[in-house]
Symmetry: C2
Subunit: 225 residues, 2 copies
Amino acid sequence: MKNLIIYSGGMDSTTLLYEYKDNIALAVNFNYGSKHNEREYEYAKYNCEKLNIPLLKINLDFMKYFKSHLLKDGGDIPEGYYTEENMKKTVVPFRNGIMLSVAVGLAESNGLKKVLIANHFGDHAIYPDCRSDFIKHFKKAAFYGTWENIEISAPYTNLTKREVALKGKKLGVDFSKTYSCYKGEKLHCGRCGTCVERLEALDGLKDDTKYKDTEYWKKVINRKT
Amino acid sequence: MKNLIIYSGGMDSTTLLYEYKDNIALAVNFNYGSKHNEREYEYAKYNCEKLNIPLLKINLDFMKYFKSHLLKDGGDIPEGYYTEENMKKTVVPFRNGIMLSVAVGLAESNGLKKVLIANHFGDHAIYPDCRSDFIKHFKKAAFYGTWENIEISAPYTNLTKREVALKGKKLGVDFSKTYSCYKGEKLHCGRCGTCVERLEALDGLKDDTKYKDTEYWKKVINRKT
């Protein structure tokens, strides 16, 4: 029981939560002011209560000084395939660096040894702080920058979203109890980058999530870059 | 004018501010709930106004979940030589990792390319996230974790506090307009680790700072480890 998990309430981190549930002492949910953080939190709370894992919500109020369409005060969320150039608008600069740093400090303050994060291969095209080069160097920074040599574990770094979805299914995750849509409305839009990625990953698998548009993703997968 | 500086209002970052003043677009002061952050901020404000550099104050409210004697809710500040074992109580876990991460995100959001930080050699004994190994790997994490390959510059990593003090003097820094004491009272105590280090570094140099105790440091420098 020595692990801390960065837990959004989305598909990937929920799968990670279920995979490591017996060794997680604390889940940390970050609200950085995105359009969808509050929806995600509802499901983070649901799954942590189900698994009896303590959940700590951390507000990063300073993100109001950051620029990204993902944030409440940012522009509209782009629609399309998730590797397209315009998806870069949804990058929140160095978000994983910030969440990992806070998590490392929290872990050391609470006598925990390891921080789990659920970045996966599908994030790599758009989000530099999800790539293996970033993770590799940040791991060493955390190791050398703490008295307890806190460890970072990012076991999905080279898994596709589809592979994460299949893993989640095996673990019994109910994906309708996770939230992904960047628009943050009650129903998943089915058209933003993360909805398209989610629908593609869950294609053919049982999924009780309600989407506004269930057809759009099939049209845009041909625009893969 | 492409640099952002992490600026506490202490001796080291004030020296760095003066050294790079012509290339600093934004100074960022972090309040992480320490006993001395508010005193530091007064001097950060003073020096930034003097040099006409914009200063942004960032509150890290989540630090209330961290454990350190440096924090308002932590235990008493230890007195003695700054490399002694009991000084570890003043470590705020991964504080530099957190401040650097936020600074990197802010830099990228504001079109700035480089983050300056004033960690120095005297910090190495007690603070793992001031050492060159941490800085080296964090630099790479920031480079790979951002679209603009944000650079970290920590030019004092291998300078002693004395060398920083001499540099500051050459640059015309008035050290009585900087604040160091971990206790956070109006007068510097002269007995905590950082006051002892400050007095040792400024020995023989003009220093109009008022200290409660100006003799204690001379007794404890013999306890150097």
